[in-house]
């Protein structure tokens, strides 16, 4: 098992990313319990992105794993803060 797997999030993280994102984390969760979402490139977020992240969180919790958000900035950060995501994910 890998210690953790980094998923590099795209510039646009919204409903259109749904298929890609679900596949990426489901694949990662077969190899690790710890997932890092790298938000370096993310500029555009909508509420369905938050929904997808909650689903990810549920899966991670089911295996007592850990989800981390890395390098979140700008409006994306405001939106995650607004949704109190620090309760679901750790930040670095």
């Amino acid at each position: 098992m890998s210690e953790f797997i980094v998923i590099n999030m795209p510039e646009r993280f919204d409903f259109s990313t749904h298929g890609w994102f679900t596949k990426a984390y489901e694949e990662a969760l077969t190899k690790t319990k710890k997932i890092v979402l790298d938000f370096s490139r993310v500029a555009y977020v909508d509420s369905s992105a938050l929904g997808m992240m909650v689903l990810l969180h549920r899966q991670i919790s089911a295996t007592s794993g850990q989800g981390t958000i890395r390098n979140v900035n700008g409006t994306a950060k405001d939106i995650l803060d607004m949704a109190n995501f620090e309760k679901l994910f750790s930040y670095e």
Binding site: D14, F15, S40, A43, Y44, V54, L55, R70, F85
Partner: protein, 551 residues
């Protein structure tokens, strides 16, 4: 030297002339004969003469007077004098004038011919040397000119891409004209200062040119407002596209963020970054936790920065490895820890430290690696950054756009982003565009899902996946009379953007969604919109949502 050489023999005595010319011809040397000074002058048109053999006393004068002219016309041709006299003062004068040697009378033909041959051979070598040297000088000159021109262009490009800011003190000692190190800083549209110190593999021009794509990318991405992590990935992409795979770019990226009061550091293959408190006491070191850019594929690069609260930090020193490698103090090789300690003695004196470290080079006479030392003065930088609020340009001139989408066209995933790109082209800041993106995505998705497709919001409560299934089923029933209208209108005087979304369906009640617990996968859309907009109104009569965002 198989070439036939031509020798001019000046001799008024017929029998001597015959003996000498015979001896020379036996050696395969061609002889031009002259018996007076005047006859010699007549031969001056012949530039193939390689050596002059001159009797001193002639009927029309002494041959001394020919020597300056011969020296001028045949600078490479040796002059030998045939004489019976032993006037050493005269001989000395002739040596001074450029005569190479004397042949004493009576003449020994074999000795003479060998001597002449020997001078001819030597003269050939001298000529070849002379030509090689001339060639060398012209190549050097060409190289010098080309390098000067290349440097001018390179320097110009780098300078047009960099600006200096008070509080970033840098000293550089390059091993040659071109430097393989680069320090560059630029301010992001959000006001953060991003600084990069890079060290390309090797030194000189080859290293310098690999820096160029890094500098251009750095500047473009900072200007675009990318986060440092994203800039790092762009640098890596650009590097793999442009630079040969055996060349690497070690670098340190630092971001100073006054709004969060933090300083973030990423170190890829560079010496430790030294962190000092306000009293210049070393309080921490940030080692390289990453490899130089160009070694790992972009996806394997960790964009994790070490972040520190800015309050406790007074100064930050960082440098290229040339500053600490191969150093020796009091005959003892310096380990890196010793070198760090030396640099930490006076972190702000960059010029002094670099001169001091250079003097400790193991082999001071040989070429050293490029050295760059930078010191950030956080006190000054904080003032600089807070006193120069980022000018936020806003679009001049009002505009309004109206988009209508029917039937399957409602499902165009790229519509919102393309609309935002249209806004970006008017010069709105990235953060404003991000807000507009989120708001318009929420409103359009709500209009499509709830207004047109009639999917109940609480469906999401049961399962996001079954919500998607229901949505896909509803999409199949879409028809071309179903429509949403999206309008954007910018008012430059109020600096506000009005976004309206209406649909041909029954509309949806924005008040029906209430804020859900944090662990729910749905129901955040409208609270986000409410927060990001300055006003949000739903007009039930026209089934239109009106959102105002101030710039």
């Amino acid at each position: 030297m198989n070439k036939i050489s031509k020798v001019l023999l000046l001799e008024d005595n017929a029998s001597t002339r015959l003996i000498v010319s015979k001896a020379l011809q036996n050696k395969g040397i061609e002889v031009v004969l002259a018996s007076t000074l005047e006859e010699v002058r007549q031969c001056f048109a012949d530039d193939s003469i390689k050596l002059f053999l001159l009797d001193v006393h002639l009927p029309d004068g002494i041959s001394d007077e020919l020597i300056p002219q011969i020296r001028q016309l045949y600078p490479m041709a040796p002059i030998l004098m045939i004489t019976a006299e032993y006037d050493s003062a005269h001989m000395a004068r002739l040596f001074d004038a450029g005569v190479k040697d004397f042949i004493q009378k009576p003449i020994l033909p074999l000795l003479l011919s060998n001597k002449v041959q020997s001078f001819l051979d030597w003269s050939e070598v001298e000529l070849a040397l002379f030509r090689a040297n001339e060639n060398y000088l012209s190549i050097m000159q060409e190289k010098e000119q080309e390098e000067a021109l290349a440097f001018f262009v390179y320097d110009h490009i780098l300078h047009t891409h960099s600006h200096s800011i008070e509080g970033v003190n840098v000293a550089t000692l390059s091993s040659g004209r071109f430097c393989g190190d680069i320090l560059i800083s630029a301010q992001s549209p959000n006001g953060n200062l991003i600084i990069m110190l890079g060290d390309a593999t090797g030194h000189g021009m080859a290293a310098a040119i690999t820096i160029y794509p890094m500098v251009v990318t750095f500047n473009a991405m900072v200007a675009k407002g990318l986060s440092p992590g994203a800039i790092l990935r762009e640098l890596s992409d650009k590097h793999s596209q442009t630079v040969p795979s055996n060349r690497f770019f070690a670098c340190i990226l630092i971001e100073i963020c006054l709004s969060k009061n933090t300083i973030s550091i990423w170190n890829g293959g560079m010496p430790n970054v030294l962190i000092f408190d306000n009293n210049k006491q070393l309080i921490d070191k940030v080692p390289a936790k990453n490899m130089a850019i160009g070694i790992l594929p972009t996806n394997d690069i960790s964009t994790k920065f070490d972040t520190y609260p800015i309050e406790n930090i007074g100064f930050i020193s960082f440098f290229s490895d040339g500053l600490i490698e191969n150093k020796c103090n009091n005959n003892k090789t310096l380990c890196f820890e010793d070198a760090y300690a030396l640099i930490a003695e006076c972190p702000t004196e960059t010029e002094y430290t670099i001169t001091r470290m250079r003097a400790m080079d193991v082999s001071p006479m040989s070429n050293h690696d490029d050295m760059t030392l930078c010191c950030l003065d956080l006190g000054i930088l904080r003032n600089e950054l807070s006193s120069s609020p980022v000018e936020k340009p806003f679009p001049k001139g009002n505009f309004a756009f109206n988009f209508e989408l029917f039937g399957d066209a409602l499902l165009n995933d790229s519509f919102t982003l393309k609309m935002i790109e249209l806004l970006e082209s008017y010069g709105f800041s990235p953060s404003f565009c991000q807000r507009v993106f989120t708001v318009s995505t929420e409103l359009i998705v709500n209009s499509v899902d709830h207004g047109i497709l009639n999917i109940q919001s609480n469906l999401k409560k049961t399962d996001f996946i079954s919500y998607l299934d229901d949505r896909n089923a509803a999409i199949k029933k879409l028809n071309d009379s179903q429509r949403i209208t999206v309008a954007l209108s910018w008012n430059q005087f109020e600096k506000s953007l009005l976004l309206t979304v209406s649909d041909s369906g029954n509309g949806y009640q924005i008040k029906t969604e209430t804020i859900q617990p944090d662990t729910q996968a749905h129901g955040r859309g409208l609270s986000i919109v409410n927060t990001l907009c300055n006003s949000l109104v739903y007009d039930q009569n026209t089934n239109t949502t009106l959102a105002t965002l101030r710039y």
